[in-house]
Symmetry: C2
Subunit: 236 residues, 2 copies
């Protein structure tokens, strides 16, 4: 397992905040300038590369993390030991919210690409809520989004044929991406996401590529023919 990134955290600066995709929404949408500059002193920021672990399931939950950019997978280990991806986080998403409930993380968070994360002490968030009850709404929204994703995973990525699942995954990834393309995951990650074997994931991506449903534009990025994929996603 890759190293923890905890050693590379440095204080967050106002400039970091300015570039933060969560700046004007989500958790701190309602903050004004003075409040933000007060809170920011407890924030820490870090860059991580693919395969680095942000936190482990079982770690005491002391921080939530806001993702500035990159792609993060959230893992669970099944009773039989194999790992299953139960969530994905992208720019602007907040992860590790179990920390707000003062319980250990239940999932493991691992960077799938180069990432930057802003680490916020959960105690600061809880304390902030104490004086700003309207803050509840922001937090609930984040949870709502988590549940939304879990439901999507269950309905879209865990049912139907492997063809359908892969097509839906590619569509899911493109729609979350700004550039009209999608991150191209490793075959193993696809498997852990879709509940199929890596061999099948490999076979299918190769097949999709041959059928020109996807076009690999970089080692880890691809462009998708969304109309055709939608066709497959429904019944293929």
């Amino acid at each position: 397992m890759a190293n923890r990134g905890s050693d590379v955290f440095r204080p967050t600066t106002p400039a970091d905040c300015a570039g933060c995709p969560a700046n004007h929404r989500d958790l701190f949408a309602s903050l004004d300038e003075s409040e933000r500059s007060r809170l920011i002193e407890s924030f820490r920021i870090a860059s991580m590369q693919a395969h680095e672990v942000i936190y482990h399931a079982g770690d005491p939950g002391e921080y939530v993390y806001m993702l500035h950019f990159g792609l993060v997978k959230l893992l669970r280990y099944s009773s039989s030991g194999s790992e299953r991806i139960v969530g994905l986080a992208r720019s602007g998403d907040t992860i590790g919210m179990a920390a707000l409930s003062q319980i250990p993380y239940r999932r493991t968070a691992v960077a799938m690409s180069a990432c930057r994360v802003c680490r916020v002490p959960a105690a600061v968030v809880r304390d902030y809520n104490r004086h700003h009850p309207e803050f509840l709404a922001s937090v609930l929204e984040l949870y709502q989004a988590s549940i939304e994703m879990a439901d999507t995973f269950l309905t879209e990525l865990s049912t139907g044929s492997a063809h359908q699942r892969l097509a839906r995954l590619l569509l899911f990834l493109t729609e979350k991406d700004d550039h009209g393309e999608a991150p191209l995951l490793s075959r193993e990650d696809m498997g852990a996401l879709l509940g199929i074997t890596t061999e099948t994931a490999s076979r299918l991506t190769a097949e999709f590529r041959r059928a020109a449903l996807i076009e690999v534009v970089a080692a880890d990025r691809c462009r998708c023919r969304t109309e055709a994929l939608q066709q497959i996603a429904l019944a293929g």
Copy 2:
């Protein structure tokens, strides 16, 4: 689709509260007597039978519901139209929390057995939080539990062979039940929960019954040989 139960709601009484399994935990754990009696005036309670719909996906979310007893399924319809069960609720659970975010319900809630639900206006909950920020913790706990369940569904009930999934489902249902037995679901519900066909669900339950892994003690209840099922859940 069965009728809505909205017409049968009557005012909640203190006696109802006394018998409510959520009385001393979850959402209103921190309430004292006077507060409770003030809030209770806005509560409504209803009994429902199997197949009645508590709320539909898309309905404006105005209420959360606390389940006094019974079993409720939470559904999502996949893009291809078929329904998938993405959650279950039991005595003491709270459902419909999207209402707290003032958004329409994303799931459909349907009673799977006789139930009693206490209907609480979301506005009352939100308002209560305004003056009791420590209330946040209770709400977060509920969300945390939702996510926990979603993860369980993904890791335990959507992976592995159909044998394993059914075994895990039975174990899941027994552990949530007080009487050492489990509700015996319809084959169709099993299918919608496990991502398998009703025929397979039928074949497997018949097989489990013949192997004396489960013993049907009523039309809709069964007793499970948990040790043997655990064996199967891991690798069978």
